[in-house]
């Protein structure tokens, strides 16, 4: 659902947009999965409306809306990417940058407990900064560590939350 093929100049006769088609099919699949999940919920007892009724409404509704979206897409409707404030609507979408952020985020999440909050979030910070085009790497790494450290101290000491200390256990 993240195929980025850009909609440059809309042609006179609307051509079928493959990414939009995939989204419509995706909604239908979600609806179908919800329906399968709904049928697995046991009937409740002693209730006029059991635990199945609402999920049934939601899954059938999702299927119906997915069908409508499919029809609209087949008739040539296509979605315009949102105009977010910091983004360039005319820029060529580049999926490497979000990939980089997600990768950094997942690595950071995995090492969050064993190596600690500070190291984990510093990795996340670094990957986002890098993906957004910062190339002064020592500076970025320094800021990443400082931000992670300050966040850790404020939230654990000041607000009493528990965050994993990891390798800094005993130091902080």
């Amino acid at each position: 659902m993240s195929d980025p093929s850009p909609t440059l100049t809309p042609p006179a006769r609307p051509a079928l947009s493959v990414p939009d088609l995939l989204v419509a099919v995706g909604v239908l699949i979600v609806g179908a999965l919800l329906l399968i999940g709904t049928l697995k919920i046991p009937f409740g007892i002693n209730a006029f409306v059991g635990p199945r009724v609402f999920p049934m409404i939601v899954s059938v509704g999702t299927l119906a809306l997915g069908a409508l979206l499919l029809v609209a897409t087949l008739r040539g409707h296509r979605a315009e990417p949102a105009a977010e404030e910091d983004s360039d609507p005319d820029a060529q979408p580049d999926l490497r940058q979000p990939g980089l952020i997600l990768g950094g985020f997942l690595i950071g999440s995995l090492i969050l407990v064993p190596l600690g909050f500070v190291v984990g979030t510093a990795v996340m910070y670094f990957s986002v900064g890098f993906a957004f085009g910062e190339r002064r790497l020592p500076l970025l790494a320094g800021v990443a560590l400082i931000v992670a450290l300050i966040t850790y101290v404020v939230f654990t000491r000041g607000l009493g939350l528990t965050l994993p200390p990891g390798i800094l256990k005993g130091v902080l």
Binding site: S2, P4, P19, D20, V23, V30, L34, G37, I41, P42, G44, I45, A47, F48, V49, P51, F54, P55, V58, S59, G61, T62, L65, A79, P81, A82, E84, E85, D86, D88, A91, D94, L95, Q97, P98, I101, F105, L106, S109, L110, L112, G120, T121, M124, Y125, F126, V128, G129, F130, F132, G133, E134, L140, V143, V147, A148, T151, L159, L163, P164
Partner: protein, 499 residues
Amino acid sequence: MDALTSLFAGFETALTPLNLLWALIGVTLGTLVGVLPGIGPALTVALLLPVTAKLPPVSAFIMFAGIYYGGMFGGSTTSILLNTPGESSSIITALEGNKMARRGRAAAALATAAIGSFVAGTIGTILLTFAAPAIAEIAVQIPPSAKFALIMLAFVTISATFGGSPLRGLISLFLGLAIGLIGTDLQSGQARFTLGYPELLDGIDFVTVVIGLFAIGETLFVASRLRKDKASVIKLEGNASMNREDWRRSWKPWLRGTALGFPFGAIPAGGAEIPTFLSYTLEKKLSKHPEEFGKGAIEGVAGPEAANNASAAGVLVPLLTLGLPTSATAAILLAAFQQYGLQPGPLLFVTSPELVWGLIASLYIGNVMLLALNLPLAPVWAKLLLIPRPFLYAGILVFSTVGVYSLNNSVFDLFLLAIFGVIGYGMRRFDFPVTPAIIGVILGPVAESQFRTAMQQSGGDMSVFVRQPLSAFILLIVVAALVVPQVLKARAARQGTVG
């Protein structure tokens, strides 16, 4: 006079030194986070939730009140100096205010926005003070079937009536409803859609969904299509201030904006967009300088900004009296109440008066604090806009991580956050609005429980929704809200092709 007595009691709660401090921290943090580009009031409140985790409910809500109003104030600074509205209701402020700033009138634009927000916020809070208890008194008698109908009305108006495509809004809503289903069914104890993960038995925390869809989704989307040129922040010389002429041209738009904004916030009609646009059109029509509009007319900042803040106060009326959020921010406030085991609604005025009235009193206090914070300190907030984007977005991500991780101290939640981030990216790429999904997640379970209570009471008879007059009437509006715009659109299209 009951409202006044209760309000004074509320001030007694809110004016203790400690609660004043929480209010001050709330407005400061709210402004601070709200000023950051890319973060609207809804995300501001969601991101700051962990900060209140260890507070008692009254202090937490006093702080929320400050964050809520502070986020709104902060947004106007970003709109004016950077031309980046944090949410759709600030578009007009950005449009007209940024032009003013470019003409060297940044100080006046910031001042009219801040003072207008103060005026609107205060009048709105006064209206809230008197309307809320009256509505709560009526609301106690509303049967579950009508409450269910009201939620349907909120669903339809928020997702289908406004915004680009009703179909896409409804799909977004259903996505939210589906997410809301995950977890143990409270009435029967059945696990639903947990895919065997014990972590999902408690359901997915709304904070994870909100931060994923809003903050992570936005980060991924912006990263995928980065703007190459540097955003131009307008320098602000000195404090935010207005001259005599500015005052003369601002005060009427403030009042008119307030009059438009409050009712639109109070009815379930999809937030602050409509009144800000209406206010802008109205001011343009009434102005003696219509030629200035689009080039930086002060009325075009004063009116919409007042409408925006008045609707923020209006939104609290259905939230506190019916438990019905009509904007994404209100939905997050509702969920925050639920985290404390409180259900906003008419009974809250009876069961937790010190909380409700402390909250309302702190809205007055927060407004005054915000005015004091924003006029002289405007240059300080403006400095925040100079944070380079790589550092800014990286910081938002780290803050999101703290917020989500600290809910359950679980890395599993961080994986969920990443999934919702990808979904949020897809929603932006394919033009699905995010707000209906948030409303669906938070109101879906409430809708289900009202529906089941209504059915229980009627002995399983579905016709209760048509026989109960209020329910039938509201459901009729729901159907009309779905059908009428479509008919009008089809008609306009036909006339368009004929004529």
